[in-house]
């Protein structure tokens, strides 16, 4: 598969450790919401199927809305807190090449991962104003970052990506190609 456009010129420098921008963060968050919901739905269906197979009667999910809501809240907490505490990355962040670190750059602590997860709804509430704080804040930190003492940085090697693109574009030098297969000239 060939890339349609080259990576932007900014990629000539490595971006690892730089504050991540708001677009990458919002896309990663969107992917996480999708993954969270998809896994939750799969889990609920797996549980209801298991109950049906063992108990021999079907479970109507619509009758247990409160239990479903509580399960969703707990699952959301586990989804974000566990992944941040483990590696500083959720599925969406890993896809976009982002990582949560402490404000000074050290690896995130478990306590910070839990705090960040608990205050994340504050950032999402009020039309996502807390998330959009990352747009104007000097260190591109959202509301939940400021409360938890964290920051989001790029964790992928943009420079290596550019080199991979260059390698794909023209992997063999013109002189080498000419030596292997000289161009035909004149009538044959």
């Amino acid at each position: 598969m060939a890339m349609l456009q080259p990576p932007p010129p900014e990629m000539t420098v490595g971006r690892q450790g730089h504050y991540a921008g708001v677009v990458s963060r919002l896309v990663a968050f969107g992917v996480d919401i999708g993954a969270l919901w998809g896994l939750y739905t799969l889990g609920i269906y797996a549980v209801s199927l298991a109950i049906q197979l063992i108990g021999g009667k079907s479970v109507a999910l619509s009758r247990h809305q409160i239990a479903g809501l509580i399960t969703l809240v707990v699952w959301s907490f586990v989804y974000f807190a566990y992944q941040w505490a483990l590696s500083g990355k959720t599925i969406g962040m890993a896809l976009l090449g982002l990582q949560v670190v402490q404000a000074n750059g050290d690896p995130i602590r478990v306590r910070q991962a839990i705090t960040r997860t608990l205050v994340l709804p504050l950032s999402v509430a009020f039309l996502g104003l807390g998330l959009l704080m990352a747009l104007v804040q000097k260190e591109r930190r959202a509301l939940h970052d400021l409360i938890a003492g964290t920051a989001v940085v790029y964790a992928w090697d943009a420079r290596a990506a550019r080199l991979r693109w260059l390698a794909q574009k023209d992997p063999v030098a013109p002189s080498t190609r000419a030596a292997i297969a000289p161009p035909l000239s004149g009538p044959t």
Binding site: P8, T12, R15, G21, L166, A167, K169, P171
Partner: protein, 173 residues
């Protein structure tokens, strides 16, 4: 004309006496003591090194050198440790190297899968949009991007590739 046998005999005797005397004198002299009395600095100062070197047949000298033995005596590890590889690598134009040599195809074959390309594409477009949005935000807020911090101090103070904490090594308390 026939040689005088008497003269020859005296000459040989004189030669034998002279050799014996010289040996006795040499044995009697303490060479180390003599050398200690010589002012080597003054002696070397009088030597015209350039003239001396001009007389040396360098090629013949090199032919006599056992290069293999010389190389074996060199501590290559210590030598390499003293070389500033970062300074050398920083002078390389990696982009043109990858573009103009077969190194590119090697990298492409070894590292580029479909998933990698998709990830590169998504991430690079994301960074491009991040920068676009950041530029306009800074313009609206009348901020100069050069004055803003680019990353946490622990990460941007060190070289980027080694700066990030490795995944899975997060401190757990």
């Amino acid at each position: 004309m026939s040689p005088n046998p008497l003269s020859d005999r005296f000459e040989r005797l004189a030669q034998a006496i002279a050799e014996r005397v010289v040996n006795l004198v040499i044995d009697a002299i303490d060479i180390n003591a003599v050398v200690e009395r010589v002012d080597l600095d003054q002696l070397i100062g009088k030597v015209d090194i350039n003239q001396l070197v001009a007389k040396v047949d360098i090629e013949q000298l090199i032919e006599r050198v056992d290069v293999d033995a010389l190389i074996q005596s060199v501590d290559v590890d210590a030598l390499v440790r003293r070389v500033n590889l970062n300074a050398i690598v920083s002078q390389l134009d990696i982009d043109s190297l990858v573009e103009q040599t077969e190194l590119g195809s090697i990298i492409a074959k070894s590292t580029t899968g479909v998933l990698t390309q998709v990830l590169d594409l998504v991430r690079s477009q994301g960074v491009g949009l991040d920068d676009f949005v950041a530029r306009w935000t800074n313009r609206i807020l009348h901020r100069k991007s050069a004055t803003l911090p680019i990353g946490p101090p622990m990460l941007v103070a060190r070289p980027a590739p080694a700066a990030l904490p490795a995944a899975g090594h997060t401190e757990v308390r």
